[in-house]
């Protein structure tokens, strides 16, 4: 009896300790976003008042910063650009990666191991190593300073990553299913499209989500290859073009950061589990 009570007390203590321990981590993770949102809703007079408590909105919520963002800047164009770039680059990369991933995971031919290694090495090459020469490649292709510069270059990091992730998913599909289809007279392409792909849907969803997130969030190439305001992505537009001269207008900057993050937040909330599993699969298998 006594033991039971004590162990229950110990359990509660450990639970309380666990929650208390978690609070600093959660606060650390979330505070910048909270601060982003309240800054975007505050009056300038309150933002730049040293006596005001920065954690609260004391003099009323306003939407002026958002109105400024939508009607006085090219923000909506940037959002449109980001959307086009992300959708096109992700779809193209997905098709290329499905073909390559299936080939590397399932088919036996000479050099398959070498190709797999090549994809993996490319997966680990950071964009910051290649942005200088790629900026010239883009000039030679005649697409510099357009959204095409990004649509063409984003697959360089999307395809290796997606291929690597999809290989893992393809390997989990039992070989017998495919062999049955082949014996029944289906061609290899039909087997891939009608038998394998439907079974790899979770992997495809995962790759699509990650692809969209990575392209939407990309900063280095988007900053380097595009300098014309009308062709910028949302992330670069907000970071680079909302600052007029050397003055930072924090209200509208944070409003821009909030709205430009929103598509990712929405997808993230809906598909949280895919993010966790994709992150784990991509890194641990990688």
């Amino acid at each position: 009896m006594n033991v039971g009570v004590r162990s229950r007390g110990a359990r509660i203590r450990s639970a309380v300790f666990g929650y208390a321990n978690m609070i600093p981590f959660i606060a650390f993770a979330l505070f910048p976003f909270y601060y982003m949102v309240i800054t975007s809703l505050k009056k300038d007079a309150e933002l730049y008042n040293l006596k005001a408590v920065p954690f609260l909105i004391q003099t009323g919520v306003i939407t002026d910063h958002y109105r400024y963002l939508f009607f006085k800047t090219e923000f909506l164009t940037w959002m449109k650009n980001s959307l086009i770039i992300s959708v096109v680059a992700t779809s193209v990369s997905l098709v290329i990666a499905i073909l390559a991933g299936y080939s590397l995971a399932r088919l036996r031919y000479r050099g398959v191991g070498t190709f797999g290694t090549a994809v993996f090495i490319t997966y680990l090459v950071p964009p910051t190593l290649l942005f200088l020469p790629l900026s010239q490649v883009v000039v030679w292709l005649g697409i510099s300073d357009t959204i095409w510069a990004l649509i063409v270059t984003y697959p360089t990091f999307l395809v290796p990553f997606s291929t690597w992730l999809l290989m893992g998913y393809f390997r989990t599909i039992p070989r017998e299913v495919e062999e049955c289809a082949l014996v029944d007279g289906a061609s290899r392409m039909q087997t891939l499209c009608r038998i394998v792909l439907p079974m790899a849907v979770p992997g495809i969803v995962c790759v699509t989500l990650f692809g969209f997130t990575l392209t939407w969030n990309e900063f280095t190439y988007a900053l380097t290859f595009v300098s014309q305001t009308a062709n910028k992505t949302a992330v670069v537009g907000v970071t680079a073009d909302l600052i007029r001269g050397d003055i930072y207008y924090w209200g509208s900057l944070m409003a821009g950061a909030v709205v430009a993050s929103l598509p990712i937040v929405i997808i993230y909330v809906w598909f949280l589990d895919y993010y966790v599993s994709g992150l784990t699969a991509g890194a641990v298998k990688g």
């Binding site: 639970a15 666990g18 929650y19 978690m22 981590f25 993770a29 979330l30 976003f33 601060y35 982003m36 800054t39 040293l50 098709v95 290329i96 073909l99 390559a100 299936y102 590397l104 036996r108 031919y109 398959v112 290694t117 090549a118 994809v119 090495i121 490319t122 680990l124 090459v125 950071p126 910051t128 190593l129 942005f131 200088l132 020469p133 790629l134 010239q136 270059t153 360089t156 997130t213 939407w216 969030n217 900063f219 280095t220 380097t224 992330v235 907000v238 970071t239 924090w250 900057l253 944070m254 950061a257 993050s261 993230y268 909330v269 949280l272 993010y275 966790v276 992150l279 784990t280 890194a283």
Partner: protein
């Protein structure tokens, strides 16, 4: 006339059979395999391998934006090695990566252990913790820039009101030591979720029986952590530390948005210095040489990683 008809018949017969032959040829495993890998391979060769070769060529030439230069051998590299800003950058990069990865490892394992327990709102809390990793880095770093503002810093406001520092508090992004601290803090903030989630996956895969056995042997919670958790986490930790080191070494976004390498170049990393020299300054040759210094470091990591995977 009859010959004509014959000829027509013959071609009509030949056409489907040729198509069938092509189809048959394509159905062979190796042909099909090669043809599926071609688009990906073309992309890797054309937009990764070729630009990489170009980077090497740039670094060996006197190449400026708009004017293809001449081959000058290793002069760019000698000039860079003698350049004080570059030496500072090498120092920054190692200090930055070492401290940031150390913090991410310790806090990441700690956070993963916390997330591993059974608790309410598990999914919600995991989602919240992973958020910094998902949101566009450039935008969240912008918010950090505002939090470290020279006049209205919320960090200083909090510290002043807790009585930790005297008003007005430091200008975080304008003072040498403080700027480095700020950049490291933001990097840890952004990289911690990645660490925690992957270590968590590692924790989940440890069989429960090991803990029970250790408990029977009288191991306390620290003993269980040291002798069961840590050794079994080693493979996962090795992978995640390698990945994180690569990301940290090649980081661009955080420094570019927060400090642009300043004050007095104390926060420059290879990528931001390469950007400044190669694009802002227009000296592509030297910029490429700077970014290529990343390569041997990354090459070593990739080599270790590949060897590790083979051994598994």
């Amino acid at each position: 006339m009859a010959i004509g008809e014959r000829a027509l018949e013959a071609t009509e017969l030949a056409r489907p059979s040729r198509l069938a032959r092509v189809r048959e040829w394509w159905e062979q495993e190796h042909v099909f395999g090669y043809s599926l890998i071609v688009p990906a391979l073309a992309l890797i060769v054309g937009l990764v391998a070729y630009p990489f070769g170009m980077a090497i060529y740039f670094s060996l030439s006197d190449y400026w934006v708009g004017s293809p230069g001449q081959f000058i051998g290793l002069r760019n590299f000698w000039e860079i090695l003698g350049n004080e800003i570059f030496q500072q950058t090498v120092y920054n990069t190692f200090v930055f990566a070492l401290i940031a990865v150390a913090f991410k490892t310790v806090l990441g394992v700690w956070l993963a252990m916390l997330l591993f327990r059974d608790f309410k709102f598990k999914r919600l809390i995991r989602g919240a913790v992973l958020l910094p990793w998902v949101i566009p880095t450039a935008l969240s770093v912008l918010a950090w820039g505002w939090m470290f503002d020279s006049l209205y810093s919320v960090v200083n406001w909090t510290a002043i009101h807790l009585g930790l520092i005297n008003p007005p508090g430091p200008n975080w992004l304008g003072l040498t030591g403080y700027a480095v601290t700020a950049v490291i803090a933001v990097n840890v903030w952004r990289g911690l979720p990645f660490f925690a989630i992957i270590v968590l996956a590692g924790l989940v895969s440890i069989p429960r029986e090991y803990y029970e056995a250790a408990e029977v042997d009288g191991a306390g919670s620290w003993g269980r952590f040291r002798h069961v958790t840590l050794p079994l986490l080693k493979p996962v930790l090795a992978v995640v530390i390698l990945f994180s080191t690569i990301f940290t070494f090649s980081d661009f976004n955080i420094v570019q948005v927060l400090t642009r390498g300043g004050p007095v170049n104390t926060t420059h990393l290879f990528a931001t210095l390469a950007y400044q020299i190669g694009l802002t300054g227009g000296n592509l040759g030297q910029g490429a040489a700077v970014s290529l210094f990343l390569f041997p470091l990354l090459g070593a990591f990739v080599f270790l990683q590949l060897r590790y995977i083979r051994r598994e």
